[in-house]
Amino acid sequence: MSKNYETVIGLEVHVELATKTKIFCSCSTEFGGAPNTHTCPVCTGQPGSLPVLNKQVVEYAMAVGLATNCQITRYSKFDRKNYFYPDNPQNYQISQLYLPICRNGSVEIETAAGKKQVRIHEIHMEEDAGKLVHDEWEDVSIVDFNRSGVPLIEIVSEPDMRSADEVIAYLEKLRQTIQYLGASDCKLNEGSMRADVNLSVREAGSSKFGTRTEMKNLNSFKAIAHAIEGERERQIELLEAGRKVVQETRRWDDNKESSHAMRSKEDAQDYRYFPDPDLVPLVISEEWIAEVKAKQPELREEKLARYKKEYDIPEYDAKILTESKHMADLFEATTKICGKPKKVSNWLMVETMRLLKERGMDAEDIRFSPENLAKLIELVENGTINGSVAKEVFELVFTDNTDPEKYVEEKGLKSVNDEDELRAAIRQVIKENPQSVEDYHGGKEKALGFLVGQTMKATKGRANPGIVNKILKELL
């Protein structure tokens, strides 16, 4: 590679909003359900049916806009995007082209390269399509309209990102903000957050943008990072070979780790956008904006500051705890029950993070209840179980949300705190390990540790190590 190239990236991020009902009818948005059970005349495009806007969708879109420093459009409209496809029952999608609800925002991101602002061009509301299922056996396609009409917002950034790191940081930031607002769970793997990457390359220092491509079907941060690297290289290779980058839409194949062209700009459809006459213009008042602002929950920065102050938690820990809204909620709920913020933080920071990493899970995937974590902490604190038993029990709490009290009771894992019972066990250990006893008397402190270990083993891990230590020293 002879020249230095700069990558220029802009993102179109679709986020499925967490409303209970669809954007233009009162059908449930719940995931799953037998095909075509969450449907009605409106979301299946029956003749004569009409859309009616769900106010909660507008409030979520406004909340996201306000949290990303956008201007809220006081007079916005819905437009029809016309195209034929069987997953789209009306053969048009209701979206916003001319007057989107939010414009001109920005978010701050932080990468190893430092902090920077990524500008947001607009956020608009639209409806999701149904799902096509291709039955190879019968050689037919079947359509499920349960997803049809599920509300989405599309967040369109300016081409302000220059690396995969920045893209991931931007997406993490959006995800975190939107999760904190409760506007979506933002799961890439389940499709409640989807990102299309617009990428071009140019010689470093050039002020003109190169020709861009749009990459679709990116279902994980890993896929996004790989697709960006791959597309950057592909475009540079073309330019180096004296060829041109073609403006086109490409589809990422996660299995092959490569992309292929879907359609070029020349094949681009004319969507014949026009304002949807079935929906009246959306007029947003100053009061409504104030209302949405007032309802806005505590966002991450505020939470971070509060944790440090209210719970006296170090900055580093507070950052990790607040990285995901789910984790922060868990922390607060558990602390509220047991009143021991540091212990709760410790369980979440150490054991929980370890298990998440081991099992390739996200904080959002945590399923145990704050009640059970609080119970476990109590069991340790009041000496009912010791630390190593607690770690074992926690794995079960983490995996199955097991009730630790019941489990400890049923499995007989309570610590042996009875000194007489321990004394008998320790006598036996001393008797069986004369060499270690001799070593200890000879000044080898390590030997004591060995003897504590043997005692623990003899009591199947249930002994209180503090008491064992004390008695051992006494007997020796």
Binding site: Q46, G48, N82, P89, N91, Y92, R272, F274, P277
Partner: protein, 489 residues
């Protein structure tokens, strides 16, 4: 005399007084249909079984005192572009030849709740596109006054059914004159309410920003009575308006003293048949004699209304009719290869020529590069027309015009020259563009014995002004709402 010669309100009174049973009323309608349908062809579907079954239910509700309204037990015909649960709804198109809705349109539901009995679904121009009811896939409807003539359109089936006394009243829809023009041709009373007054939920859309459901009746009293029942805010229609003044029957007052009536000179010039002009102006004089203050004025912009209308209505139609694709309901071609071929063949075979023409026109004006020049410009014209009417209504309570430039043309004359047919909408179209209420009622006959209609236009939400003017005029004329009574058949 058949029970179907009664007005809807008159028949309702007899049913209430137990002089007539609901079954008798429904039977009278079914008998009339059996006797006349072969000639008139007003209906696409007659629901004999459903109507007779419902008649019994309604009778019980009347007897138990739970149904006391003026239309309880009265047979009604519904234009075939309004969804009726479990009853075939075709829009007079082949593409919906097998479409049975899973729900009922709000306006129809309100009538059912009031005890009206649905007798059947009436013929229309395919998807309400046309002015003659000749574009129907199920054969043309004839004008009951003269079978060689069209009934007008697109609500030609509903108007012919009322005129031929096959039912007591009917519902129609009006996008550019589709209630008022055929009402004029068939000698019945038809009204397009202010946009947003009657819910469009369940009305299969043609031009969504212009479509409005309205009553087609034998007289003004029936018209106000039906409108009072079907009007009202509906949360299922975002364009539906919440208004309190829907007690339209309160305006059935024979008094126009001091009422200011504007006559737009532009509506009485070139292109207007002289007999129609004379009949309308004579009606105006009658109102003047009754104390109304009449003044001529220039409305302006008339020549822009038709192109603006066809751009907007067709643009919306091209998108509204996209859902008819053979995938989910309606006609699907028998043999096809792959998805696009299926779309293409289903739509090519399912839609008629006039519908295709308007879909193509609409798709064209929305195409990138043309959108601003056509669609946006048409919307600006729409705004200007509304402004011109606003200025006129600052001076007048009611504007009077013909409903159509001529009386009913002969069958087969209109479709040969679509531009000429489009020009026939000149007096009705602006009312839709401005969202205003307009009523058409009989005001005379031409020398061939075909009815002439007078159109009265009100400001937005001022239906009561035109009901009052129409009712007052109606009191002065010898009433002939049906050719059947006239001919003594």
């Amino acid at each position: 005399m058949s029970l179907m010669s009664e007005t809807a309100v008159g028949l309702g009174k007899k049913i209430k007084a137990k002089e007539v049973s609901v079954t008798e009323a429904v039977r009278a309608s079914l008998d009339a249909i059996k006797a006349k349908e072969e000639k008139v062809n007003s209906f696409v579907t007659v629901d004999e079984e459903g109507a007779l079954k419902r008649a019994k239910e309604v009778q019980k509700l009347i007897d138990s005192g739970s149904l006391t309204g003026p239309l309880a037990g009265v047979p009604v015909a519904i234009k075939d572009n309004m969804c009726t649960k479990g009853l075939l709804t075709t829009c007079s198109s082949k593409i919906l030849e097998n479409f049975v809705p899973t729900y009922t349109a709000e306006a129809v539901r309100r009538l059912e709740d009031a005890g009206a009995v649905i007798i059947g679904k009436t013929n229309m121009d395919e998807f309400a596109m046309g002015s003659t009811t000749e574009t129907s896939a199920y054969g043309e409807t004839k004008n009951p006054w003269n079978m060689a003539h069209v009934p007008g359109g697109s609500s030609g089936g509903s108007c012919a059914a009322v005129s031929a006394e096959e039912c007591s009243f009917a519902l129609g829809s009006d996008t550019g004159g589709s209630i008022r023009q055929p009402s004029s041709f068939c000698g019945v009373t038809g009204m397009k309410p202010t946009y947003g007054t009657v819910s469009r939920y369940g009305l299969i859309a043609y031009g969504s920003s212009l479509d409005q459901i309205g009553p087609i009746t034998k007289d003004v009293t029936d018209c106000a009575t039906v409108l009072e029942i079907i009007a009202g805010h509906d949360t299922k229609d975002a364009t539906s308006v919440s208004r309190e003044d829907t007690d339209f029957t309160a305006a059935l007052v024979d008094d126009v003293k001091g009422m200011k009536i504007g006559i737009p000179k532009d509506y009485f010039g070139e292109g207007l048949n002289i007999e129609v002009r004379d009949a309308v102006l004579s009606a105006v004089r009658t109102l003047e004699e009754k104390g109304a203050v009449v003044e001529e004025f220039d409305l302006g912009l008339v020549k822009y209304a038709i192109p603006a209308y066809y751009v907007i209505a067709c643009a919306e139609a091209s998108s509204n009719l996209a859902r008819f694709d053979g995938v989910k309901y309606g006609y699907r071609t028998k043999e096809y290869e792959g998805l696009h071929n299926m779309y293409k063949k289903s739509r090519s075979e399912g839609f008629g020529a006039e519908v295709k023409r308007r879909i193509m026109l609409g798709s064209f004006v929305l195409s990138s590069g043309y959108y601003d020049a056509y669609y946006l410009k048409a919307l600006r014209v729409k705004g200007l027309i509304k402004k011109a009417f606003d200025e006129a209504f600052a001076k007048y309570d009611v504007i009077i015009a013909p409903a159509a430039p001529t009386t009913a043309p002969k069958l087969g004359e209109s479709l040969k020259n679509p531009i000429q047919m489009y020009l026939g909408d000149i007096y009705t179209i602006s009312v839709n563009l401005a969202g205003l209420p307009g009523i058409s009622l009989p005001c005379g006959m031409d020398k061939n014995g075909l009815p002439v209609g007078i159109q009265m236009i009100g400001d937005c939400f001022k239906e009561k002004n035109i009901i009052r003017a129409a009712y007052s005029f109606e009191q002065t004329r010898a009433y002939t709402h049906s050719p059947v009574t006239k001919e003594g058949e």
